[in-house]
Symmetry: C2
Subunit: 271 residues, 2 copies
């Protein structure tokens, strides 16, 4: 992985459905991809159930590793088992209270969406406005539950909904900018090389050699076919994090060329 230059992020996914295997964690990969492209480094992804103790333990552990950001998804809705905010509060020893701004966001959401149909602010609806003290609600442009922004020691904690379109909308509208500012102009650049006809175990020493020569570019091999068969197929992923986009491109180009040379010597085919 490209060495972390400045902005480390942990993702904490909350939800029984993820641990039951009923839902694939596409939120984590979507967020990770966006973070990477913004120049941040995702250092860990943790998935825990809708359980207060499990959530608060995971938050505490993550804080101990001192990332710049912790982004949680899931567990901020109206049902009894939505307890991510409570888990964050517990991890930090904070009390919770009904946040006026959050309640206004929730009320406003129902008002604008239901065009006149009145909805009472019942307990489950108010629940989405109960935040750890010191936390700031984040407007949810496409759903009911506001997100949360909380400053904790050296880490900024963001809590997003589990519904993918809501998580994405809040990420785009409120997180992107803060994170890219923290990442401080780091560029992440990548290339793929598709290699046919060479086994991964044959490529291994080549990758080793090339990376030793140009250590700023990280090369990872992903075997896609069967290694020991007539037609092995491997995807090579080249990536670099750098403050200088032009230098990054130059390094990638140089490494691509070195790999192409070595692989054609082995009579491998590159797509």
């Amino acid at each position: 992985m490209p060495s972390s230059l400045g902005c480390n992020v942990e993702i904490l996914s909350v939800g029984n459905e993820l641990l039951l295997g009923n839902t694939v964690n596409t939120n984590a990969s979507w967020i990770a991809k966006r973070l990477t492209s913004l120049g941040a480094t995702v250092t860990r992804i943790t998935t825990v159930p809708d359980d207060l103790r499990a959530i608060s333990a995971a938050v505490r552990e993550a804080l101990g590793r001192k990332p710049n950001f912790i982004i949680t998804t899931g567990g901020i809705g109206p049902t009894f088992d939505d307890m991510t905010l409570k888990g964050v509060a517990k991890a930090l020893g904070l009390r919770m209270r009904l946040d006026r701004t959050a309640v206004e966001m929730i009320r406003g959401h129902y008002r604008s969406r239901l065009s006149g149909r009145r909805v009472g602010m019942t307990k489950p609806r108010l629940k989405m406005g109960i935040l750890p003290i010191g936390g700031v609600p984040i407007r949810n442009p496409v759903g009911t539950a506001p997100g949360l922004w909380l400053h904790a020691h050296r880490t900024e904690i963001f809590c997003l909904p589990g519904v993918p379109r809501e998580a994405k909308a809040i990420f785009r509208s409120s997180l992107s900018q803060v994170i890219s500012a923290t990442a401080g102009g780091i560029t992440f650049a990548e290339r793929w090389l598709r290699v046919r006809g060479v086994m991964e175990s044959t490529l291994a020493p080549i990758i080793d050699r090339v990376m030793r020569k140009w250590p700023d570019v990280y090369i990872k091999s992903h075997p896609k076919g069967v290694e020991a068969s007539g037609r092995p197929y491997i995807e090579l992923h080249l990536s670099i994090s750098s403050l200088n986009p032009m230098l990054a491109e130059k390094s990638l180009k140089r490494v691509m060329e070195a790999l192409r040379d070595e692989i054609s010597n082995l009579r491998g085919r590159i797509d």
Copy 2:
């Protein structure tokens, strides 16, 4: 989540591609689904990069939570950054050594697949046979790198490849039985209810009430549409873990009926 009756499992996914967001972690959800159906409870999924310190820290932390099993995926291939086994060894203070049985498995794999074409046992190929002392190699029915089975205190550690078809093949051939034996005849049963026309915040107190009455069945709501809109759409997932399959089915049926009654009172539609 249904309360854990007996067999807790943690999944540890290793691979930069997961943290870069280039690969969605389908291995974890596939394994979690299988474990759940075998009666086990997945208590945490952790994803770390191809980094020795990160891997060994995650293994140590997982061991500290005393699960019955830790299943790792990824990082057991021939390249320099495949270091899961080394990370497991480091976590347990074990040395590594070339395992004869593993080497025979690797050699045998090449021999049978390449029908006569000779392949030298180069360093990268032998690397896949270097295991923590005390570990047992597991035959990989469809790929080169053997898996690993290692007993550690109260926990059995299994290391599987990251290539999905290889991870699945080893899981099916070697893990399923051990895990289902440990789970000790626990049945996991589930049902889905698709509810249209009722907002999640309106359903919340009903779910609460029904779960209080029948606490053995866990109900989780998954909002799929937009809550505050003309047509909210929610999937309800009902699940139960039990030693008695017939009682489990009976409980699920009873809860389904209670939910149907309550939802039709709200003029919701059930698909």
